[in-house]
Symmetry: C2
Subunit: 270 residues, 2 copies
């Protein structure tokens, strides 16, 4: 794609840049969308962050992140609900239409109990989503994170939960990194249809040296990104394409060059 | 379980021990079964390894491993078939009733092509399985290995392949490390029924520091091993329970103490 109108970049992707720097750089490069991580909002009024985006001709496509619902006691679970509701408030304040949910998991709890607490937590936040006018986007995480980051690991599980809780204020953020291996990907994306409200891209490196921070730039790895993009678009998705790369290797590079490489990769490998 | 009659240990689990040492130690500890990795057979006639097991009152429960079917060209694919057929020959020679298949994957190939070549490769080895009287055991590997170790990642995929190729010489090795996260685990194990011919145990550590060699001893991690054992036994499995732990941490310990800990964990955490 030569047109950058659907491109968005997460602030975490260019982690060395603070919000003013990222916003200026993205704007100068013609990148219109920003996936805003909450750490980048700290230290200034939310209205100021919103104005900073708007003044540079940018818009927030998502706020990252809420969730982490499972807890070992009621206090922990309540804290997660409060934090997710705050994330919805922050999203509304900066103009982001969705909060991405990393659903959480605690290795001390059984998998069924983790999943039960997640469904309960999501349900408990839907009313606040309605009040703020901001959607919750379930992000299934790769099964290698099922112990401590998310016990929701497939699009199929998201579909099951949305069957139960409704799709008015709840959708799915499909990140190729987490879902590319799934033998049921095609059928579950088709089943999801317009429930898919987010599409995140990066790549899977071989070998992957680190569980968290060794993602690749699109085209560096083995994921069939255009193929998965075709599936979500066939299902009806036409929203922003969010570049979300955690990479110690890329963060160590010159970020201007990395941004240029992201744009080239977006044009040729997505 | 106080009775050790179903306990088997993979030679890779006590990696510092060569075959004569492992065999002597397992026998002295009352462990009857051995999962034999092919490296441990190198350097002596197969009949000698077989006799070493028998003389110590042990038996081989599995030979590890064949597979790695996908290749970038015909020569690579043929080499994988030859190697898997040799594994069947070796299994027959040492008295192992099954060869565990790590199906393979190449990041240069698409996921559908990897999966197609795997099915083709398995099919091409079935006649040799019949001739040797040794079964092939498909081992679904965790999705974090889908790029370069196995594009077969769920019990469901194994069931689909066996629906296609038949179960006379083909079964499933269910390793809790690879399958514990799967939301369809219960239904797919029930669907598999007596196709499950191997059950491997270890545990998932939080955090996991290394993609390959940071597995835990049963009880150290978050996997509900008794729960999964219940599922495979409900499906009809009553074979050996194979302890397969790759762990730099445990390999660095005194292996006699590690063996004692394995037996305790087998009795109390499986």
């Amino acid at each position: 794609m030569d047109n950058l109108s659907r491109l968005a970049i997460h602030t975490m992707t260019t982690k060395p840049w603070d919000l003013p720097t990222a916003v200026a750089k993205f704007s100068a490069a013609g990148v219109p969308g920003v996936g805003v991580w909450r750490q980048w909002l700290a230290g200034r009024p939310l209205a100021e962050s919103r104005a900073m985006l708007a003044d540079n001709g940018l818009h927030a496509v998502s706020l990252v992140r809420g969730g982490f619902f499972p807890g070992l006691n009621a206090a922990e679970r309540t804290a997660a609900l409060d934090d997710t509701r705050r994330a919805l408030d922050e999203a509304a304040a900066v103009g982001a239409p969705q909060v991405v949910l990393v659903c959480g998991a605690r290795p001390e709890l059984s998998l069924p109990e983790n999943r039960r607490q997640i469904t309960e937590g999501v349900a408990a936040c839907l009313d606040h989503a309605r009040q703020t006018g901001v959607k919750l986007a379930l992000e299934p995480l790769h099964p290698m994170y099922a112990d401590c980051r998310s016990a929701i690991n497939t699009i199929g599980q998201c579909n099951d939960m949305i069957d139960q809780l409704g799709d008015t204020w709840l959708g799915i953020a499909a990140d190729v990194y987490h879902i590319w291996w799934d033998p049921q990907l095609e059928s579950e994306i088709a089943r999801a249809g317009r429930r898919i409200i987010g599409f995140h891209v990066c790549d899977w490196m071989t070998p992957t040296a680190d569980f968290l921070n060794d993602r690749g730039l699109m085209g560096e790895g083995c994921i069939d990104i255009p193929g998965i993009r075709g599936l979500v678009e066939k299902a009806g998705f036409d929203g922003p394409i969010e570049v979300e790369i955690f990479s110690t290797r890329h963060w160590a590079r010159d970020q201007d060059q990395f941004l240029a490489d992201i744009i080239t990769a977006y044009k040729t490998k997505v």
